[in-house]
């Protein structure tokens, strides 16, 4: 299996990098080398892009407007709020050199760590349907490995740049329609299909994070990667057996991979005073449009490029523990929420706040 092969190679590369530090090995015992450099400390290795649609972060999008979803009580756009609650919890890490909390790896140093990403993603219809139903809630958790290399302090025209990889060997996503939404959908009778979208996946991404201009105040992040459904015995993103109507079935998925790219630019405010800095964040995914009613599993699904753009300002305050970002968001593509991933040409836009801790 591809991801297991990669896991072995990843471990070998990490071990090789440690072994390739002869001075350190001469100076330290094996015990000291294996001793963690940090535990339960924040370190900025491959932080998620603001536009990453299912990152384990704290985001509130409100007010927002959304396309109507399949089996909604009424047609037309609705006012919604879309929230993500979660965190990438840093568990343990190893690095060499200077390692103040909250910072990326030092120049010419390698860092590696294990994170526990845990998040909840909810969207609620606030306007058009009876009892303002929660449309969908998605739950995610897994294991995340991140590695980062600090490029020389001045590398070409960049300052304090980094390259990194993020590998999720296994994670789980469970999705759930809202109970009031399900009750409202009784008007569709047996035509209403409640699909159990629930799966495991692995993910691999690469990152280049250069900073430009004086003191590297223009901070850039470039990302690319793939997400792959896995460990589900060939079943795919969702079960064939419907939750509702009982006894009903749908066609299993065929395309179980979703590649993505992303980029983010942030112009940091004056370091003396802190303040507001503009940012632009973009995520683009080649997503699978779930095809529940295809003739057979071998029939390929449609795919649709799905774009998520955030533009706004980030408030940097020296010594503060919370960094808020205020933004306008525009999303277009496959509906990212649970079983609604069968919906293409979905649109969501509004005002939001991202809180980083």
């Amino acid at each position: 299996m591809l991801h297991l092969q990669f896991l072995r190679w990843f471990a070998l590369i990490c071990a090789g990098v440690v072994v390739a530090c002869p001075q350190s090995i001469q100076a330290q015992s094996l015990f000291e080398i294996l001793k963690p450099s940090w535990t339960f400390e924040r370190h900025s290795y491959y932080d998620p892009l603001s536009a990453e649609p299912r990152a384990a972060e704290m985001k509130v999008l409100f007010p927002a407007r959304s396309s109507s979803v399949p089996f909604a009580e009424h047609p037309g756009q609705s006012t919604v709020w879309d929230i993500s609650v979660g965190d990438e919890i840093p568990v343990i890490g190893w690095t060499r050199g200077d390692k103040p909390e909250g910072e990326p790896t030092a120049q010419k140093k390698f860092g590696f760590g294990v994170w526990f990403p845990l998040s909840f993603h909810m969207i609620e219809d606030m306007s058009k349907d009876h009892s303002k139903p929660i449309l969908d809630t998605d739950y995610r958790f897994g294991v995340m490995l991140k590695a980062q290399w600090g490029l020389p302090s001045k590398w070409g025209i960049t300052h304090q740049s980094h390259i990194g990889i993020r590998y999720v060997p296994i994670a789980h996503e469970s999705t759930h329609l809202g109970d009031e939404f399900t009750l409202n959908a009784r008007i569709y009778g047996d035509a209403f299909q409640r699909v159990n979208v629930s799966y495991q996946y692995w993910e691999l991404g690469g990152s280049f994070e250069p900073n430009f201009f004086q003191d590297g105040r223009l901070e850039a992040k470039f990302r690319g990667g793939i997400m792959h459904e896995a460990f589900h015995g060939g079943v795919g993103w969702y079960d064939a057996e419907l939750l509702q109507p009982v006894g009903g079935t749908v066609t299993l998925s065929n395309r179980n991979i979703e590649p993505y790219v992303g980029a983010e630019l942030f112009y940091s405010p004056d370091p003396d005073t802190g303040g507001l800095g503009p940012f632009l964040s973009l995520d683009y995914r080649n997503r699978t449009v779930y095809g529940y009613n295809r003739p057979s599993q071998s029939t390929p699904e449609q795919v649709e490029g799905s774009v998520n753009i955030l533009a706004g300002i980030r408030h940097i305050r020296r010594g503060a523990r919370i960094t808020p970002s205020y933004y306008l968001r525009y999303y277009h593509g496959v509906n990212p929420a649970g079983q609604f991933r069968s919906q293409s040409n979905y649109q969501l836009y509004g005002f939001g706040v991202l809180f980083r801790f």
Binding site: D98, K99, P100, E103, S153, N211, D215
Partner: protein, 91 residues
């Protein structure tokens, strides 16, 4: 303890902040000092020069210590620390 790259009490202060150990060995402090030098010294020299600060050991140590409390990336924190250093010299 061997000669350090930065002033002893500044190094001890930064070690205390980053590591929390109340009983460090001389070797740990020396290694910490070396790590500080490898990660910060070239940026310190460059930005202190631009800000007109003599790059003596005691000045570098003070600026480096100040930079541990700033916001932004390493260059931004050192730039801000240099300005704080300059602005507080005649107080």
């Amino acid at each position: 303890m061997q000669a350090l790259n930065y002033s002893k009490y500044d190094v001890l202060t930064m070690f205390r902040k980053d590591n929390g150990s109340v009983n460090p060995t001389a070797a740990q402090i020396e290694q910490f000092d070396t790590d500080l030098f490898d990660a910060n010294d070239d940026t310190l020299l460059e930005i202190m020069g631009e800000e007109g600060i003599d790059t003596r050991k005691d000045n570098k140590s003070t600026v480096l210590l100040y930079s541990r409390f700033g916001a932004g990336n390493l260059s931004q924190r050192i730039r801000s620390a240099c300005r704080y250093f300059n602005n507080t010299q005649k107080l």
